[in-house]
Symmetry: C2
Subunit: 117 residues, 2 copies
DNA sequence: AAGACAGATTGACAGCCTTCGATGTAACTG
DNA sequence: CAGTTACATCGAAGGCTGTCAATCTGTCTT
């Protein structure tokens, strides 16, 4: 099940959102819609949006620096970073005891492009 | 409850997503995050994404023209149009027996801007 | 090696969301 | 007026999601 979960995460993160006409140009195919919806779902939570904005605003943020500003428990933060990473929006760099997170601007740009021009 | 639902829908649709720094510029405030997440949630479903793309691709679409291409029942289509309308992404024009839907490009642009430049 | 520490995982619970059948409500048609 | 049509609403079922306490894994320090 861990394998399937990771495989799914891989697929989401590797999907090329920019490969297709944007939402406003032509009716979306079913597969493209599912893929885009998965990334949108990652962005459809207030805690994750704030987490992403914190990470995107600085170069690198470690998980321990997220707990306080977001007001959530450590397992919850871990869960959300995992979801955002699975969507390809952030990436984690494990150095020693800490995991350093940084944003993936290209991915966010791909979402924007998929949404309209 | 209908009143509250409509009040909420109004608030979502009227929220000015473009009023604040984008996600990548500065940490998002809690209220802004909740508001943006609500719009994202409307976009986080494959059926709604396809529905939006169909509506956005043509000038006007009536509800009865959505059932077939989306492969969903009439109550389901009605539910999804309601969600997208509450998020301000589409608007419905009731003429006679038909409801004609059209996209709201400005709202989609606001989402794009909130997501990054 | 022992203890402390960062963070991932598990399990459980509550709430929400998608979906559809059944029903309600207008509006047009004959 | 009776019937039909387009759409909204209700209620229920099933699945998914966010949250945290408890636990496990790996790393650093002493």
């Amino acid at each position: 099940m861990a394998a399937r979960s990771e495989a799914k995460a891989f697929r989401i993160a590797e999907g090329e959102l920019g490969c297709c006409p944007s939402v406003v140009e032509a009716p979306l195919g079913e597969n493209d819609a599912v893929e885009l919806a998965q990334v949108m779902a990652a962005l459809a939570d207030p805690v994750r949006l704030r987490l992403l904005s914190i990470v995107a605003s600085s170069d690198e943020v470690c998980s321990c620096e997220l707990e306080a500003p977001l007001g959530k428990s450590q397992p919850t933060i871990s869960h959300h970073t995992k979801v955002l990473a699975a969507a390809g929006l952030i990436s984690g760099d494990k150095r020693g005891r800490w995991t350093w997170w940084h944003a993936n601007p290209a991915r966010l740009a791909a979402v924007r492009d998929a949404l309209g021009r």
